[in-house]
Symmetry: C2
Subunit: 393 residues, 2 copies
């Protein structure tokens, strides 16, 4: 079996070209990839092994497991990473001068071991190279994310049917999870780093929405156990509350991130006002966010609108407020750029970002909309197309 099917060769080559541009910027003449998300990025597959990318010359794929892949010109079967050095010599590759390792994506032990393969070479932060490259998607990647958006919207269309009176928030979430899985959701939410922990998503309602999160999510919720402090807490859904649904959009190795809000019975006016403010922010940013615009300016624009509406005390949380309103999304849920005041990133065409200006109204719940967008020359194109109004359950 071929590690990289013929129909993906051109796609992989595009990614290699992009990586090589960023390698040159970071002064690395080779990149050694080993983390699961980055193996997927450089191969369109998950396997146990390594990808070696020289800034000039062909990349090599070193495979340990599974044992189903054929050895080919550029696919080398190995038992352990230390074999990479001798295999490179055998294949006539010259020794690299400066190697990028995934400082942010691999453990200290793993990077230390890999550094031993090229003891003479200088080191660079390969995670930075990969992150920058992954930030701008190819057409193929955007097509995968559009598929995710279509599936996710199809599930959100059926959310109302998952609801029954006197359900708990958790029971509601479980029925949505089932619909998601039957729609093809893979049931994993890949996140980067040590600062997130989530099951298939977040359903928060009423008072629970104002429980601060220990994680780098915008919203909180107590969860049902101290070992997973986030999301639904098992309380019965009541009239007068909003229910915010922010569930898993992973159907194919990529993912979209989408949030919508439902209401039960009569909900105070302030909730609708804040929800409309969120939509106004999205409309403003959709126009404004073009290639060349500073990401930080999106954040500032959102804050201006919120202050103009005198809603600052509820924005991005109430008891605890998140300092960002959006993030890149793709193979992982928390990619670059982060939409925050101190961002140094500049928007580029085909970045994909989730924008989620949200509000927490104490004892009512959370409101606001989250869409995943592609950056185009004329502004943002949403790939999570679904009505944005608060819908009654």
């Amino acid at each position: 079996m071929k590690l990289i099917p013929d129909n993906l060769r051109a796609e992989i080559n595009l990614r290699m070209d992009s990586l090589r541009r960023h390698m040159r910027e970071e002064g690395a003449d080779a990149l050694l990839v080993a983390s699961n998300p980055n193996l997927y990025y450089t191969t369109c597959r998950f396997f146990r092994g390594y990808v070696y990318i020289p800034v000039e010359g062909n990349p090599l794929w070193f495979v340990i497991k599974p044992n189903v892949f054929d050895s080919e010109n550029d696919v080398v079967l190995i038992r352990k990473p230390e074999m990479i050095a001798t295999e490179l010599v055998r294949l006539g590759y010259k020794s690299p001068m400066a190697v990028g390792y995934e400082f942010d994506d691999l453990s200290y032990s793993d990077v230390s071991r890999l550094k031993g393969i090229f003891p003479e070479a200088k080191v660079a932060n390969g995670s930075k190279i990969l992150r920058k490259s992954r930030m701008v998607k190819t057409e193929w990647e955007i097509d995968r994310m559009k598929e995710d958006g279509i599936h996710q919207a199809e599930v959100y269309r059926r959310v109302t049917k998952c609801y029954q009176e006197d359900m708990t928030d958790l029971e509601f979430q479980i029925e949505i999870e089932r619909v998601l899985r039957r729609e093809g959701c893979l049931g994993v939410s890949r996140t980067s780093g040590n600062l997130m922990d989530i099951n298939m998503g977040s359903v928060i309602a009423g008072e629970n929405a104002d429980t601060p999160s220990p994680y780098d999510f915008t919203m909180g919720g107590a969860g049902i156990d101290p070992s997973l402090p986030g999301g639904a807490n098992g309380t019965t859904l009541k009239p007068g509350e909003t229910v915010m649904i922010d569930m898993n959009g992973s159907f194919n190795g990529y993912q979209t991130d989408m949030t919508r809000v439902w209401s039960i019975g009569e909900v105070p006016h302030i909730a609708f006002k804040a929800h409309e403010c969120s939509r106004n922010i999205l409309r403003a940013l959709e126009q404004m966010a073009k290639p060349g615009v500073a990401v930080a300016d999106l954040y500032k624009k959102a804050m201006e609108i919120v202050e103009g509406e005198e809603l600052s005390q509820y924005f991005m949380g109430h008891r605890q407020q998140a300092a960002f309103i959006g993030h890149g999304v793709g193979i992982e849920l928390n990619e670059q750029p982060v939409v925050m005041a101190r961002s140094k990133d500049i928007l580029a065409e085909n970045m994909t970002i989730a924008l989620e200006p949200k509000f927490v109204i104490p004892s009512v719940g959370a409101v606001g909309v989250e869409n995943t967008y592609r950056v185009t020359p004329s502004g943002l194109e949403s790939i999570t197309i679904f009505p944005e109004e608060i819908q009654e359950l």
Copy 2:
């Protein structure tokens, strides 16, 4: 709100005593904990922050998020890890000489940053200290795992009701997931390292069971997408196949690991023979596995039994065979010890290990039993109590 509730103080102290013993062995006079699983181990909570454990003196908890915890004698609110050094001076702690950092559990970047807090100190592998300590459970931890086992068995009791003729393996899994979640399963499977990726578990049947895994799981399966190559592949369940169910047992921050097998229609004799061999292995190891016994000897004993039954070609996989038959389990699914030929570990009372001698019979499916056990002076005590025979769907 108190970070550590009064009723957990004694429990935390037990863990600190254990950690200090292993710190002395590794020559560390302080341990700085930051990974999610180890924060949970040292706090019984998830938060964003750090635990500083001196080999003599009281531990300190440094909390960044969430903002709901009170500052107390031993709970210090900080904004960034660099503040730890000055806080230690303020509180009269002496500078550590050798600090353990989580080399295996934190990224290269994170460890490098933390090392900057104590630039003069020597470094040790704190992951090793934590892993050794976590390997032996307290009574409180074992009680949590017993709860998991009871919930997991309750779900397995309802597996038959999840099945309908002409279902796919995936549809079957989705119904089991729903029952699991309604039973209180948290829906996450915490694993250590870069070598695993799984949603709520594995349901494999028929030919699909013989698809090799890229991961460090004993069993494989193709999955439904190249981005998550494991488990159910969406094919319709057919008479003559076995269905192996190895689903998530996480209900409370700990977890149990349990596998049972169901059959559809008439299944070849070889499947029953191999399944009984698995049970015989478990019976033999249950007797043999007492404190002081080498973990490697459990593996050798299992191999002997398999060879005696002439089932080696099917053991632990067929096209690809795993080189271990069990593993520690607790906060994470893949804890120490690993039950393999080259293990150097010695069994101790109150270790908790999952043993999973399994067979893959080509075009029939996988068979075998997995239980989670506690090591006692008289052998293994199962905490996943559920009938072991192959049951017909």
